[in-house]
């Protein structure tokens, strides 16, 4: 699988080129070219921010359709703790778990149960590796991807443990094979995801060779099916849940840290805040921290872009639900002990370099600086890049041209018109030279009209924000 695989995609038909997404992308991975957004797959970290902000729903996440269940003889659902936070007045996770069975899954394995094992392994890691602290949580795949391309100095701080969803998948697959005697490929391990980032993780994981998750559904797709089943299950369902407070807490920001029994942690959520924390960590501005929990989404996974509930409301619901739970119900066993560790190290991917070699990058940085002096510094986005600096970098990489900037175009038009009036003033009837001047003038006028058309197109796109103009 391509190491820059992504589950966030663009629907060209729907894109209006309105530049809302380029302005909000935290890694500046999007450009609007020829009126359509394009995602640079090397820069994208699948945080789903563009899906959230696109007013025309042109950005979407890929994941599997519910019909995919039919491909298997036996299916196991992996519900994440964020799923429980989506329902009103839920006081017992067993209602959701039994509803999943009623929907057609043959078994369920709670991600929160695996999370309790990862919590225990994390506590052990923190106490055994004081020299590698603070450890940065690796549960949010967008954060790991961000660190991989932008914060190479922090790679050694990544907690080298596979995320709960993967631990759950491995244990669920083993259990299903034992129980049914079926071959692995007849069994479908299906994760119900709050976000595209975890879809990407499954297709192209970091920290391990391949994922045991076979299919990924979206919480928002399952939600309408689950509601009637939950009603049918009723208030007093059979007890099949196996997790406690610690596991279920992983659904919200700070939840993972709360299971580590230390005060020396920092939890930040929302991708912009995450970037600020990583910048400061890189400059060693924090001392005495043991653990750093970072979630790309506001509120943590309850705020995932494939969920349905408002993240803050969801957080309250999760808190209320936890009230009735025991602290933890899963404890480390020999089998889990060897499977929670990373089997593959994360490597730095210097995708933001300006050139192939340092000398080339150096020369290009020089060019960028020169270009920046010429560009207007307004960061208006009309050129399709989020900032003038981003345009300058695109130009030196050969991916854009100076005249993409409307101000350059406008300047050109001014210069050309001045030239035209100068020539016009020199034209004398009957003069032989004047014929030549007249020809040059006509050429200039043609160029002015071309550039005006380009300008109109750019400005028109902004004015029409949303209305198709081509």
């Amino acid at each position: 699988m391509d190491k820059f695989y992504h589950s966030v995609r663009l629907d060209e038909e729907l894109c209006m080129g309105c530049i809302n997404c380029i302005k909000r992308c935290p890694t500046q991975a999007i450009r609007v070219r020829n009126g359509k957004a394009q995602i640079n797959s090397k820069f994208c970290i699948d945080c789903g921010e563009c899906i959230r902000v696109c007013p025309h729903h042109a950005k979407h996440a890929t994941y599997d359709k519910l019909e995919a269940m039919k491909q298997y003889e036996y299916t196991v659902a992996l519900p994440p703790p964020s799923l429980y936070s989506q329902f009103n007045n839920l006081d017992d996770v067993n209602i959701v778990l039994n509803a999943l069975l009623m929907m057609g899954f043959d078994d369920v394995f709670e991600v929160s149960a695996a999370a309790e094992l990862v919590s225990e392994a994390t506590r052990e890691y923190l106490s055994e590796n004081p020299d590698k602290l603070p450890a940065i949580s690796t549960a949010c795949p967008s954060v790991v991807r961000l660190i991989r391309v932008r914060f190479p100095n922090l790679i050694p701080n990544l907690l080298p443990l596979i995320p709960p969803v993967e631990v759950a998948a491995i244990l669920a697959a083993r259990k299903a094979m034992e129980k049914t005697g079926l071959e692995r490929d007849k069994i479908g391990i299906i994760f119900i995801s709050p976000c595209p980032s975890k879809v990407t993780y499954v297709k192209s994981p970091l920290g391990t060779e391949h994922s045991e998750v076979d299919k990924v559904f979206a919480i928002k797709d399952l939600y309408p099916q689950l509601l009637p089943c939950m009603k049918a299950v009723g208030d007093d369902p059979p007890e099949i849940g196996t997790s406690g407070k610690i596991g279920v807490s992983w659904g919200r920001s700070g939840g993972e840290a709360s299971g580590l029994f230390t005060e020396d942690y920092l939890a930040a959520d929302g991708i912009e805040n995450v970037i600020r924390v990583l910048e400061d960590m890189e400059d060693q501005k924090f001392t005495n921290l043991k653990f750093v929990e970072l979630s790309a989404c506001n509120g943590g996974c309850v705020g995932g872009v494939l969920t349905v509930e408002n993240p803050y409301v969801a957080e309250v619901k999760l808190k209320r639900l936890r009230k009735y739970m025991p602290v933890a119900r899963n404890h480390m066993h020999a089998e889990a002990e060897e499977l929670v560790k990373w089997t593959k190290a994360v490597q730095y991917e210097p995708v933001f370099n300006l050139g192939e070699t340092m000398m080339e990058s150096f020369a290009r940085l020089n060019q960028v600086e020169r270009l920046l002096k010429k560009l207007p510094g307004l960061d208006c986005g009309s050129c399709g890049a989020p900032t003038c600096k981003a345009l300058a970098e695109d130009i030196v990489r050969g991916e854009a041209v100076e005249s993409d900037c409307v101000y350059f175009l406008r300047d050109n038009v001014h210069k050309l018109s001045e030239e035209v009036s100068r020539l016009a003033a020199g034209i004398v009837e009957g003069d032989r030279d004047s014929y030549e001047k007249f020809k040059v003038m006509t050429k200039y006028i043609e160029r002015i009209s071309d550039e005006m058309t380009q300008l109109d197109r750019k400005e028109g796109r902004k004015r029409n924000d949303g209305k198709r103009i081509d």
């Binding site: 400059d283 210097p350 933001f352 340092m358």
Partner: protein
């Protein structure tokens, strides 16, 4: 091809909200140049400490960063009070930061020692009452 790029930054006095902007700008430029992560880290920390020092002690000043393909030179110049005893100032934990500054969490006395620790060369030129110029070099 020019073999040096120069950046200038003006550091405004007493503005803690903006302290760190210059070093983080240099950091992002070095990353785009493909400078090794270790060198980027050294520059970022050394320069950040210097920037904070200029804000706390020296009423701001100017930073000039010269980048060549094999070294990064940071020249921090201020017209502040100067450093009376460099030897003392170089001891970890020694700080003359005013209380107001300490309560903000800065001024733990790690400025100069950290700058020395993270740069490959460092020279301090200080004149009491006139100002201080610190030159730090990190090899790439």
């Amino acid at each position: 091809m020019t073999d040096m790029i120069t950046f200038h930054y003006r550091i405004s006095p007493d503005d803690f909200t903006r302290a760190g902007e210059a070093s983080s700008d240099v950091k992002s430029k070095l990353k785009k140049m493909g400078v090794t992560p270790e060198a980027v880290r050294k520059v970022a920390i050394a320069m950040y400490e210097g920037e904070i020092n200029m804000v706390i002690h020296a009423h701001g000043g100017e930073i000039t960063v010269n980048i060549t393909p094999d070294r990064i030179e940071m020249i921090l110049a201020d017209v502040g009070p100067g450093i009376p005893d460099i030897g003392l100032a170089m001891q970890a934990g020694y700080s003359t930061a005013p209380d107001a500054v300490r309560s903000l969490g800065f001024g733990a006395g790690m400025g100069l020692p950290n700058m020395k620790k993270y740069s490959d060369e460092m020279e301090i030129d200080t004149v009491i009452g006139k100002g201080t110029t610190i030159c730090m070099v990190v090899y790439i």
